[in-house]
């Protein structure tokens, strides 16, 4: 791995079975993507934020070391003190401020380009080819279609013949991305150069009441600042699982304000934001805990302001 890798895969997670079978999905994605990057000769790193790791369960980092040891030299781990959870959330039902966690890595990643994604996303061949050619330009947000894989596939034997067989897709909901935002499963694939990501100050961390919609809100914010958005023409694959948003949505359709991911009716598709300069827990004291792993200690000075309303706009 070079001093500045070409690509950083920004992911977040927590070993608490979030969303069901979390560890299995997480390890599968790390293994699959790491192997593909190696095959295609893509200089990569995984910038993973482990939010609020508990003492009763092993760190995800240790699980990766056991399951995919070859990926460990390419891992940079950011462990966020559990004490940040309560003061950072404005919605007690949100157990996991996913995008604030992603901002922690976006702020600190040192690769040229960042692929911000989720824990159960497998990269597609066309995207790999573009990354291998290194033909991505700065100042452009790149998007890709997501295909949802049906549940019950043998996720230990994932290969192209299985991933590229449309009979294994459970939905065509995101079969086409439409301009100008090219949104749809945005949280699974946003690629942008790290410099522009930092100029935009990452995802909205002022409206900390929902996880849902924060990804498309990032596109709205970028679009309002004239950052072009393009479709790579490639796809990524999402491992179907119990407890996914698509399933959970049905359970909360009568009371969306009670949903554990926040009320999806907020103004994500129109409001813009300007995160404070300390976005991404910039003021959190950092402490190396082992090679490639940094612990972010709790400090009230790092906690985002409660209600900087003037930083929300249209």
């Amino acid at each position: 791995m070079s001093a500045q890798p070409y690509l950083s895969v920004v992911m977040t997670g927590r070993n608490d079975d979030h969303g069901g079978s979390f560890v299995r999905r997480f390890l599968n994605a790390i293994r699959f993507n790491h192997q593909r990057f190696e095959e295609y000769g893509i200089d990569h790193v995984f910038d993973v934020v482990e939010w609020a790791p508990g003492v009763e369960r092993p760190w995800l980092l240790d699980l990766v070391a056991d399951a995919v040891p070859s990926a460990i030299p390419r891992c940079r781990w950011w462990l966020v003190d559990p004490e940040y959870q309560r003061p950072c959330s404005l919605n007690p039902r949100l157990s996991y401020p996913e995008f604030l966690a992603k901002n922690v890595a976006i702020r600190r990643a040192n690769a040229r380009f960042l692929w911000v994604t989720n824990c159960d996303i497998y990269i597609g061949r066309a995207v790999l080819e573009r990354l291998a050619r290194q033909d991505l330009g700065p100042g452009v947000i790149y998007r890709a279609v997501r295909h949802d894989l049906i549940r019950g596939l043998d996720d230990q034997q994932l290969d192209w013949s299985l991933l590229e067989d449309s009979r294994n897709y459970s939905s065509k909901a995101h079969a086409r991305l439409r301009p100008p935002l090219y949104n749809g499963a945005t949280g699974d694939f946003v690629v942008l150069d790290s410099e522009t990501f930092r100029q935009l100050r990452g995802f909205n961390e002022i409206y900390r009441l929902a996880r849902i919609g924060v990804d498309v809100n990032f596109l709205v914010n970028a679009h309002s600042r004239s950052v072009p958005i393009e479709d790579t023409g490639g796809v990524v694959y999402h491992q179907g699982h119990r407890g996914s948003y698509r399933q959970a949505k049905k359970f909360h359709q009568d009371a969306p304000e009670q949903a554990p991911y926040g009320d999806e009716r907020w103004g994500a598709r129109c409001i813009t934001y300007d995160n404070p300069p300390e976005w991404g827990l910039a003021s959190a004291p950092e402490r190396p805990v082992r090679e490639g792993a940094t612990w972010l200690d709790f400090d009230w000075r790092a906690v985002p302001p409660l209600a900087p309303l003037s930083r929300l706009g249209l």
């Binding site: 007690p92 103004g267 129109c270 409001i271 209600a307 309303l309 249209l314």
Partner: protein, 128 residues
């Protein structure tokens, strides 16, 4: 006798002078009628052409007015639509800010309660 004489003239392709004069009068009358009819026809044609021209002009005027009105209505609708989108967005922004304020108040309330509960617990521990 007159009938015989008439038949004799017919045999040579001739008619009596009185009959010839009557036929000429009829012809002249028919020609005058035809000329008059032609005149009426010309007038009617001119009138029809005039009516058609006026009709086309009326249609064109109506079409122009309709187009202008449609353009004006379309502009009004577009302006209204933009205004509505802007109001919707403003409303969404205000609601989002209210959400943030509500969340902040709840968070502050919880933090205050945590501190006060801790103090109360400490005080009761000291008393006991």
């Amino acid at each position: 006798m007159r009938r015989f004489f008439s038949r004799l003239l017919e045999a040579f392709g001739l008619v009596r002078l009185a009959r010839l004069e009557a036929a000429e009068r009829d012809l002249h009358l028919a020609q005058r009628r035809a000329a008059k009819l032609e005149q009426v026809l010309a007038q009617t044609r001119a009138s029809a052409e005039e009516a058609e021209k006026r009709y086309r002009e009326d249609i064109e005027t109506a079409r122009q007015k309709f187009t202008e009105r449609m353009t004006s209505m379309k502009t009004t609708i577009e302006q209204a639509s933009r205004a509505q989108t802007l109001s919707d967005n403003q409303l969404a922004l205000v609601e989002s800010k209210l959400d943030v304020i509500e969340g902040a108040i709840q968070a502050l309330d919880q933090r205050t309660r945590d501190v006060l509960i801790a103090r109360t617990t400490e005080a009761s521990d000291v008393k006991s």
